[in-house]
Amino acid sequence: MASLPKLERLLFVISTGITGLEIYREYGVASTELKYFIGFCNEKQDLSVRAMGPSLLVQKYSQPIKESYDHVIGEMQDFDAEKISKEKAQKILLELDNLHDLISRVYDLTRVTTMPF
């Protein structure tokens, strides 16, 4: 999880989900972004990293990220654009925003520690 490319991928996935939900909420349209994100949530994603040892950030943030991630995945697996209310979409959006913040924090911290001092 502390691999920058993996974190970047995850951030793009979440951003795509946020865009998809926003377009759904505002225009009532199930966009390609939303369909992609629902598809992502229904697949089992391998988030492992081939490193010598885990980073401290992983040990500190893995639990809250996992909880938020599992929650979003669970909500999205039930998501049906025909039946879900815009209020429900808004609720998932807030959770996705929270997850995006958490991963961004890990990303920023990881980036900072790669800097030469």
Binding site: P5, R9, T19, T32, R50, G53, Q59, Y107, P116
Partner: protein
């Protein structure tokens, strides 16, 4: 044009990478891999430019048209900032990371000579992959595809079959990847501040074996033979990751030599961790490697025995502490020994160029008279190598594994100020000797 400032930034970074003068790298084999890395990064930047235009700007224009049809005024830049600002920001960070990564590859802290040594691990497994080393904040390996293409996958995948919201109009971005190939190869990252710490150089071997495992499916091939490895976690996915990590440690130790144990203990002292889903507890990994050192003997030279005894003098007590802290049960002990036996047997069956074999070849080279022109070194004992390198400061053209094992076993005599250059010179001499002997033997 929307996002023109972002495009300017990408073009600037692209220009910087293109301007890099490969002639600044003195070694052709390493230079070739860095040129490949430069091309991959430039192509990655081109893909980002395409992604921005096809998967963000076009759909935003679609929304703009839709709103205008409804009689609402809308600016495409505003729509992007409203719905795609995260993706734009993330693209910016990826661009910066490409720039940063490439800079850390072309201005390494770890000397270029060590690239040849790591590349030799692949050669000894009769395989070849382009490899570059990169100063970073952890020991980790990635393929170029993972570093450059995979982060962009969500944008590319969305873009490949994009329907403008509220319309049936498709945006065909299948040309996002056209003409911009990311060539295969690997990057091993190392901790910048540890680059000159030779005690951690064997960790590079660990990363190299992860790459060989990925390419040659070493763990999978063993399991495919109906071999039942011990179970360390009841959760199947977690267990397979832990088994893989221990497997790689055993392979690395058998390939590198007994002082891999010093390296492992040193690493865990500096970066201790509790077990995670990706990594088993430290004590399991230490115990597996300890079993290799304890049960291996090499009779035709004193190098292995001396390295082994010094190794236990240096880290013996620390190992006891690690094992005691882990509350090592009899059952766990039996499992890890069984694991070691199976994996060690598999390593021997594959017949790679192990440390044991490196020592044998070193010992026998005085009889190697394939050609008069073959460069032949005198064969030294453990203390002769230690004295030549650490006291007389002589660079030796011997297998870097032998050199490193002796130096690590005599680490109390090692002074980075005096000896670091001797180590890198030795690797360079060894590489030249190796190439020379290849030419002579094949001519």
């Amino acid at each position: 044009m929307p996002l023109d400032s972002v495009y300017d930034h990408i073009d600037f970074i692209m220009g910087q990478i293109k301007q890099w003068k490969s002639s600044s790298v003195p070694y052709p084999g390493i230079r070739k891999n860095l040129v490949l890395s430069a091309d991959n990064h430039v192509n990655g930047l081109s893909i980002i430019k395409n992604v921005l235009s096809k998967a963000i700007i076009k759909p935003a224009k679609g929304i703009q048209e839709r709103l205008e049809k409804e009689g609402k005024k809308a600016d495409v830049e505003d729509i992007i900032r409203r719905h795609w600002f995260r993706q734009v920001t993330e693209c910016y960070h990826v661009v910066e990371r490409f720039n940063f990564d490439f800079s850390n590859q072309i201005s390494p802290v770890l000397p270029f000579e060590t690239h040849y040594w790591i590349q030799s691990v692949f050669e000894n497994w009769k395989t070849y992959f382009p490899l570059v080393l990169e100063a970073s904040n952890q020991f980790v390996n990635h393929s170029f595809k993972e570093k450059i293409l995979d982060p962009l996958a969500p944008l590319i995948e969305v873009g490949l079959d994009y329907t403008i919201p509220g319309t049936l109009e498709k945006v065909n971005v299948s040309d996002v990847l056209e003409g911009f190939k990311v060539s295969s190869g690997y990057v091993i990252s190392y901790i910048r501040g540890e680059a000159k710490n030779v005690l951690l150089w064997p960790i590079l071997i660990h990363e190299a074996f992860h790459i060989i495992d990925r390419e040659k499916n070493l763990v999978g091939s063993l399991l495919g033979q109906d071999v039942k490895l011990p179970v360390f976690s009841e959760v199947k996915d977690i267990n397979s990751r832990w088994v893989q990590e221990i497997f790689i440690d055993i392979f690395s130790a058998k390939y590198f030599g007994p002082t891999y144990l010093i390296s492992l203990v040193n690493y865990f002292e500096r970066l201790p961790y509790v077990q995670t889903i990706d990594h088993p507890e430290m004590a399991l990994r230490i115990r597996a490697v300890q079993e290799y050192v304890t049960t291996t003997d090499v009779e035709y030279t004193d190098i292995f025995d001396k390295c082994k005894s010094h190794c236990f003098e240096i880290v013996g007590e620390k190992i006891k502490n690690f094992l005691a802290a882990a509350d090592f049960s009899v059952e766990k002990e039996e499992k890890i020994i069984e694991m070691y036996k199976i994996v060690s047997g598999w390593f021997d069956e594959l017949n790679p160029y192990s440390f044991r074999m490196a020592l044998k070849n070193y010992q026998l080279q005085k009889n190697d008279e394939k050609s008069e022109k073959t460069f032949v070194d005198p064969v030294y004992s453990f203390s002769e190598i230690a004295d030549l390198v650490l006291t007389n400061q002589v660079s030796l053209a011997i297998d870097p594994r032998i050199l490193l094992n002796v130096v690590m076993a005599q680490y109390q005599r090692y002074d980075p100020e005096k000896h670091f250059e001797i180590m890198t010179d030795s690797i360079l001499k060894w590489k030249i000797r190796r190439e020379w002997n290849k030419i002579v033997c094949c001519s």
